[in-house]
Amino acid sequence: MTPAESRYPLRVRVGPLELANPILTASGTFGYGLEFADFVDLGRLGGICTKGLSLQPHAGNAPPRICETPAGMLNAIGLQNIGVQAFLEEKLPRLRSLGVTVIANVWGDLEEDYVAVVRALENAEGLAAVELNISCPNVEKGGMLFGNSPTATGSLVERVRAATRRPLLVKLSPNAPDLVESARAARDGGADALSLVNTFVGMAIDPETARPRLSFGTGGLSGPAIRPLAVRMVYQVARALPGMPLVGIGGISELSDVLEFLAAGATAVQVGTANFRDPGVSGRLVAELEAYCSGKGISARELVGRAHGQEPLRLDAGAEG
């Protein structure tokens, strides 16, 4: 450990974004943060990612919107949110007073919409970074449509990059035809870091009625069920784009899950669906990581990427059994 690391063993840098520790909470699973104030000391988290913000308030999809699945759930909420203005007026000042590191998650139908939301946020006090959601599978327009095409990804990120001086994270879709190409496009467009991954498009059908369980038809799969898929994707992008800061997401609910993502090459992680079943989980993971690092005499930074260089590994293995 460096002298700085031994003083602040959990501190990590995600590109230009300095975090007190690598434990973040994932957009869409943590509301606007304040909902968790009874359960978590929000100021002790590495940071929170807000519910995806759009220019105007958005009502979301018709119910049923969620459905439990083995070791996880499907959701098709449809990005219901209060809109960027209400966030700035009603939520951000309270988050600021609690000392929370806030990452604003942003989405839109068109490039212009993303740019407009980012502009609205640009001069807000108490915002640490912006995360672009180009990977929501549950809206008709925008969202995943940007994430599924490297060209569209690159173009959008470039335009948003030009509109903000803040650290810019881009949250990628695991449903993209070629995740590495999308990651490269986001990096080349000016992303400071990549959040990997959003939910996987899935479906559940009621066997009695033969109708989809979600009114949207399909939904995004999250929870422990997706963790090995997400770990593989973080590992793969870390290998393809050395030096690009990555934030790992997918089924994290225990310390060992955090360590797994860090080993795969993530500098920080986001806790998602686990917040629903255990609202105190994010705070507990910070404490557990702290105990782990001090017990081992190791910094969080030193845990990053340890799985690399231990192979040879075949990343295409598995498909052919």
């Binding site: 979301g60 119910p63 969620i66 909420i77």
Partner: protein, 274 residues
Amino acid sequence: MRSDHTALLLSTRFFSPGLFSATFSSPRLAGEIAPGQFVMLDLPGRIRPYLRRAYSVADADPGRGEVEFLVKTIGAGTAALESLRAGQDARLLGPLGNSFSLTGLPAGSRVAVVAGGIGAAPFPLLWRALRAGGWTGDFFFGGRTASDLALSKRFAGVVAGDTYLATNDGSAGEAGFVTDLFARHAASGGYARVFACGPMPMFAALARVVERLQLSAEFSTEAEMGCGFGVCLGCVIPGRHTPYLVSCQEGPILPPERIDWSQVTGGSQVTGDR
């Protein structure tokens, strides 16, 4: 304050197969819970179900530090609770949601409580509060068949007034819908408020009755909940003045006039405990 309480299962009591009462020791919760509020229940160490399940608190005894739930086994979550043994722990996140409102209820007035099947779950605690406030009223309890009404044993000595039963097949009480039974009494019952809990089709029918008779009503809604504290936004119900009402946060107790019944599709908003 909302908190995640570790609670010891003290006892279970079966009314019929798959229909039971579970009593936990949870002193803080017992002292804080208001009629109609709910908890999200977690059974640590299990893989399935993944998400917690929402349960209305059926009764609370602050003196003994106990809370009770009335449960019908319909899926993975309720089956897991049924298999919990006395002496084992659960986690109860709560108190969550709003409560039945007794404010503004004129002293000595009469109320109606309408329950469909396991929708009877929140009402022992409400009756306790009504009795304590000197109110009386009638209890209308309906189900498909007599076995759905096995819970009526739990209400012996609980109701501050008369109990009327109805079953769709006529195997217990009156044959027909509990909402029709209620409507006949309500026309002349002089009820100051109607409290109801049951499946969405029952609610939709009851909403028409209370609107026609211009009765003040509160429905304990229950859409499938992912978190129970307003974050996942999974449990929305179509609203009349806003697109959606978040059941766990704005409810679960909602006046029927805030719900857009034309958008409520038959049964699809009823809890699925798969």
